[in-house]
Every structure is written in structure tokens, then in C-alpha cells.
């Protein structure tokens, strides 16, 4: 099954502390390499902070564009990985190893498989 590992973290805590970014970067590189070596990594990228987010929606034929993220939350979506795992236990195992799990939260979501037979 394909799973998304959605990494939620408190941006403010990271932004105010550039050293912290330096600390976790090698861990993320090692983590990404480990997933690649295991042959389960399908994709994944970090995201720019929500300060650079733009929200778009269409209402009665008009496009509304708003500055900022979809919702103000304590922790923000900071990046994702997409992996191929045999089952939820395996996906949880990889989520637990993510450096972001230490101070943030990893949401494990199965993908909606659109295959037709």
C-alpha cells in the first residue's frame, strides 16, 4: 500500500532557531537515505513555511485568493514523504524513525488508490 507521512511541526520554534535546522538536517538526510536504501521511498519534499502560503477557492464562479495557510494551527504541515509499505505497522515503523516525530507529529495516511480493474 502507498502511504503519505505528513510531517507537522511548530514553524515558530524552528524559525526562531536556525541552529535547530542545522541540527536536524543531517538526520533528515540519513532518514531519507535509509528509506531509499530500503526501496520504499516514492517521493517527498520539505515545504516552505506557511507565511508563503496562498489559499485559493472558487465561490459562485469567482476565484478568491487569500494570503496565508488553510487553517491557523499550532503545528503546520512542513513536509511529506510518500512510501510503499506492506501494511500500517510498516508505515508506522517508518513514521516513528522520522526526525520530525521527536518534537512534531507525523500523520500516516493511506493513499486513495484509483486503480480500476
Amino acid at each position: 500500500m502507498r502511504y503519505m507521512l505528513l510531517i507537522y511541526a511548530n514553524e515558530a520554534a524552528v524559525q526562531g532557531n536556525p541552529d535547530k535546522v542545522k541540527d536536524v538536517s543531517p538526520a533528515y538526510i540519513a532518514y531519507t537515505n535509509a528509506m531509499r536504501d530500503a526501496g520504499i521511498l516514492l517521493g517527498g519534499e520539505p515545504l516552505q513555511p506557511t507565511a508563503y502560503a496562498t489559499t485559493v477557492r472558487s465561490r459562485s464562479g469567482k476565484t478568491e485568493v487569500l494570503e496565508g495557510p488553510y487553517a491557523e494551527t499550532r503545528e503546520q504541515l512542513a513536509g511529506y514523504y510518500m512510501i510503499e509499505a506492506p501494511d500500517l505497522d510498516a508505515a508506522i515503523g517508518w513514521a516513528a524513525r522520522c526526525p520530525g516525530a521527536e518534537n512534531g507529529t507525523i500523520e500516516v495516511r493511506p493513499l486513495w488508490e484509483m486503480r480500476a480493474s
Partner: protein
């Protein structure tokens, strides 16, 4: 009714009895076998329900097959394939089913169906399943209880329980919760969740000792059945043995817990002639075997406390000092305020009421106890022993206000009357 009519009725009765026997013995096994391969519990249930319906129809015409379990599985598997085709999805699942067909044929040649109920139990008690739904899920998938029966046992509206069960089952499928017994390193924690769910089912049955509500009757029996199943599948797990012993000890006193007119009878005043000694003996054997494995745990300690109560059969009196020290060990392991309350009561009955009051004061601030009836009943007991009847009466009054069970409430009211006399 003519002879022909009678013969038909007999054939129908035989077919029905055979189907019911197969259901009792094989339901959980068949669900586990089907679901483990398709990851679709609800689909397995539907397929098996169809197979049972077909059995009732065909067995009365063609006679009961030599191996009813294999017959049911073959029909259920065909239904599963039909389901997959109708949904037009899940190629992988259809492959599983094809493999399963080959597997069944190979298995059929030599022995019966492999027992995969343990895997199913671990799926039901997976950490990704809401803790409150683990016991209901197990009761439905392993024992085939319907949502209405489970709902009434857990005091939830039937439609709500039905929805929650459906959601939990689709979660197993969609989130990819595996059907397997966990590896050694995570087994302890995961087994604990399985045992906890079984104990939750038992506790629901326990609150209705006389089975006065007919639909709730027997959930304690079902939980004991599940406990036996785990023990038979994992005979080397001391906590599984401990849980079964605990349930058997508690159940041995089922008929002594209420007076003939339905009033609550506290353990200390129970008529030991009403205790089931065969059940106690079985529990003692299990507990002894568990103790020999050298790994103490919560259920073994709780069973040991029950064993100390049961010793009244031989000793004629209760050794409260021994019980208090077992509660101390249990408290050190679980840090549960409920255990602290029981520990305090045992200490008071062992003649150490001062110490008991200090123990209760220590947990008095725990928010989990503010609305916990036994805490206030324990305070009343301890304060009475210390001679503070006014404070004891106040605590007893509070306990009455918190108690939902009428029989227990009557018992507390009688106690309050003696305190105020």
C-alpha cells in the same frame, strides 16, 4: 402433520442443528481465515452469512456434508470473489483469493482449517483501533455477536454501535492494519491490548451478575471463552493465564454476589457454599502455572488477590494483611488510583485504619476519583473504623449519589442508616 411433512421438518431440523454447530465452532476461524487474506472483515462477514444461508437451504436437501467447515469456506470464498468483481476494484485482493483457493485445496487434502483467530484478535486490538472499540470488534468477529447484543452490553444505542463497528472494520481495510501476531519485541504491549479488551468484555458482563437483562447475560461467559482461546493459542504467556484465572476466580462467586431478593452482598459476607469450587480449582492451577514462568504482571497479581479471597474456603477467615501487600505490589506496577483505593480498604480491614486514611488522602486530589463511587465508600469504611461517624456518613452519602446500580445503592443506604443511628 403427515409422515412426509414430519420427515421434512426433521431434515430441516438436522440441517439447522448442523449449521448452528458449525457456526459455534467455526465462525471465528472462518472469519479469521477469510479476512486475513482479503483484509476485508465486513466482506468476510457478508460472505459467511451468505454461506450459512446457503447451508440451511442445501443441507436439508443434499444432507450435511462430511466437512461442514470446508463446505462453508468454499461457498464463502466464492461469494468473496463475486463481491470483488462487483466492486470492480482490488485486483490484489482477487489474487489473494485465487491463492487462497489453491491453499484450501492443498489444506483440504490433509488437515482442517488453520486457526488464525489469534491474528484476528491482534488486528482487533491494534493501537490504530480506538481502545473502546477493541472489545466490541473482537466479540463480533471472533464470536459472531450482533451489533445490538454488543450495544446493549456496552450501554450504547444499537445504531451507534453498528456504525462504530462498520467504521472500525473499514479502518482495518483502508488503513492497512495487518493480520499478524506481533514480533517478540512488541508482543508484550500488544498482547496487553488484547487481554485488556477481553477483560473489558468480562467487566461489562460482571456488572450484571444475575443476568437480569436477558440480552446482557453471558457476556462474562463469552469473555472467559475468549480468555481460554488466547491461553490455548499462547500457552506460554503468563499474563494470558493470569487473566483467565482472574476471570474464573471472579466468576466462581457470581451466584454469591446477590441475595435471593437481588441485594448486593459484599465479598466479606458472601456465603461460601455458593462459590463454584471447580472453577476456583481451575483458576488456582492456571495461576500456579503462570507463577512458574517467572514474569509477574498485572493480571497475575489481580488473580493472586482473588486467590487470597478464595482461601477463605480453607482458612475460614480472610488474610487481609496478605491481600494488602498484594495490592501494594499491584499499585507499584500500575500506579492506578483505583488500586490505591482497594489497597486502603485491605489495610483498614487488616487493622491499619490510620494508614488506610493516609493512603486515601494521598489520592484524594486525583480527578479520576472525584466521581468514583468506591473511593467514597472506602472513605466511609475507613472513617467508621476510626470512630469518625459524622465524616463517614458524609462520605457514604456522596457514594450513594454516585452509584448507578440500584442494588449497590440499597446496600449503601442501609450502611448510611447504621452510621446515622
Amino acid at each position: 402433520m403427515g409422515d412426509a411433512g414430519k420427515l421434512m421438518a426433521d431434515t430441516l431440523a438436522i440441517a439447522r442443528a448442523a449449521a448452528e454447530a458449525a457456526a459455534r465452532h467455526s465462525y471465528g476461524k472462518l472469519i479469521a481465515f477469510l479476512a486475513a487474506r482479503t483484509r476485508d472483515v465486513a466482506g468476510a462477514e457478508d460472505a459467511l452469512a451468505d454461506a450459512f444461508a446457503a447451508a440451511l437451504e442445501r443441507w436439508q436437501v443434499e444432507g450435511v456434508p462430511a466437512r461442514p467447515e470446508a463446505w462453508l469456506l468454499t461457498v464463502a470464498r466464492r461469494r468473496s470473489i463475486d463481491q470483488m468483481r462487483r466492486r470492480q476494484t482490488g485486483i490484489a485482493a482477487e489474487d489473494h483469493l485465487r491463492l487462497m483457493a489453491e491453499e484450501i485445496e492443498a489444506k483440504d487434502a490433509n488437515e482442517g482449517l488453520p486457526d488464525e483467530r489469534l491474528r484476528l484478535m491482534f488486528t482487533c486490538a491494534h493501537p490504530a483501533i480506538d481502545a473502546g472499540m477493541r472489545a466490541p470488534l473482537m466479540l463480533q468477529t471472533i464470536l459472531g455477536l450482533d451489533a445490538a447484543t454488543i450495544a446493549s452490553a456496552f450501554l450504547v444505542p444499537p445504531a451507534t454501535m453498528g456504525q462504530r463497528l462498520v467504521r472500525a472494520k473499514s479502518r482495518i481495510r483502508q488503513a492497512g492494519i495487518p493480520f499478524r501476531v506481533p514480533e517478540r519485541e512488541e508482543l508484550d504491549g500488544r498482547l496487553d491490548a488484547v487481554l485488556e479488551a477481553i477483560y473489558a468484555a468480562y467487566a461489562e458482563g460482571w456488572t450484571d451478575p444475575n443476568g437480569s437483562e436477558s440480552r446482557r447475560r453471558g457476556l462474562a461467559d463469552e469473555a472467559i471463552w475468549l480468555g481460554r482461546l488466547v491461553v490455548s493459542l499462547m500457552p506460554q504467556e503468563p499474563e494470558a493465564l493470569g487473566l483467565l484465572a482472574l476471570m474464573l476466580f471472579a466468576d466462581s462467586r457470581r451466584h454469591a454476589r446477590r441475595s435471593p431478593c437481588g441485594d448486593f452482598v459484599p465479598l466479606a459476607e458472601q456465603d461460601i457454599a455458593l462459590w463454584d469450587t471447580a472453577m476456583i480449582a481451575e483458576a488456582e492451577t492456571l495461576l500456579g502455572k503462570a507463577a512458574g514462568m517467572g514474569k509477574v504482571g498485572r493480571y497475575q497479581l489481580e488473580a493472586a488477590i482473588q486467590s487470597a479471597h478464595a482461601a477463605r474456603l480453607d482458612l475460614g477467615a480472610t488474610d487481609w494483611t496478605a491481600i494488602a501487600s498484594l495490592y501494594a505490589a499491584l499499585g507499584a506496577l500500575t500506579h492506578s488510583p483505583v488500586v490505591a483505593v482497594n489497597h486502603a480498604v485491605a489495610a483498614a480491614l487488616a487493622g491499619r485504619a490510620d494508614e488506610a486514611l493516609r493512603m486515601l488522602d494521598q489520592v484524594a486530589d486525583d480527578p479520576r476519583l472525584a466521581e468514583y463511587q468506591p473511593y467514597w465508600a472506602a472513605r466511609a469504611e475507613v472513617l467508621e473504623r476510626l470512630g469518625d461517624r459524622a465524616a463517614a456518613a458524609a462520605a457514604c452519602h456522596r457514594a450513594i449519589g454516585l452509584e448507578p446500580d440500584p442494588a449497590m445503592r440499597r446496600f449503601l443506604q442501609a450502611k448510611l442508616a447504621t452510621l446515622e443511628a
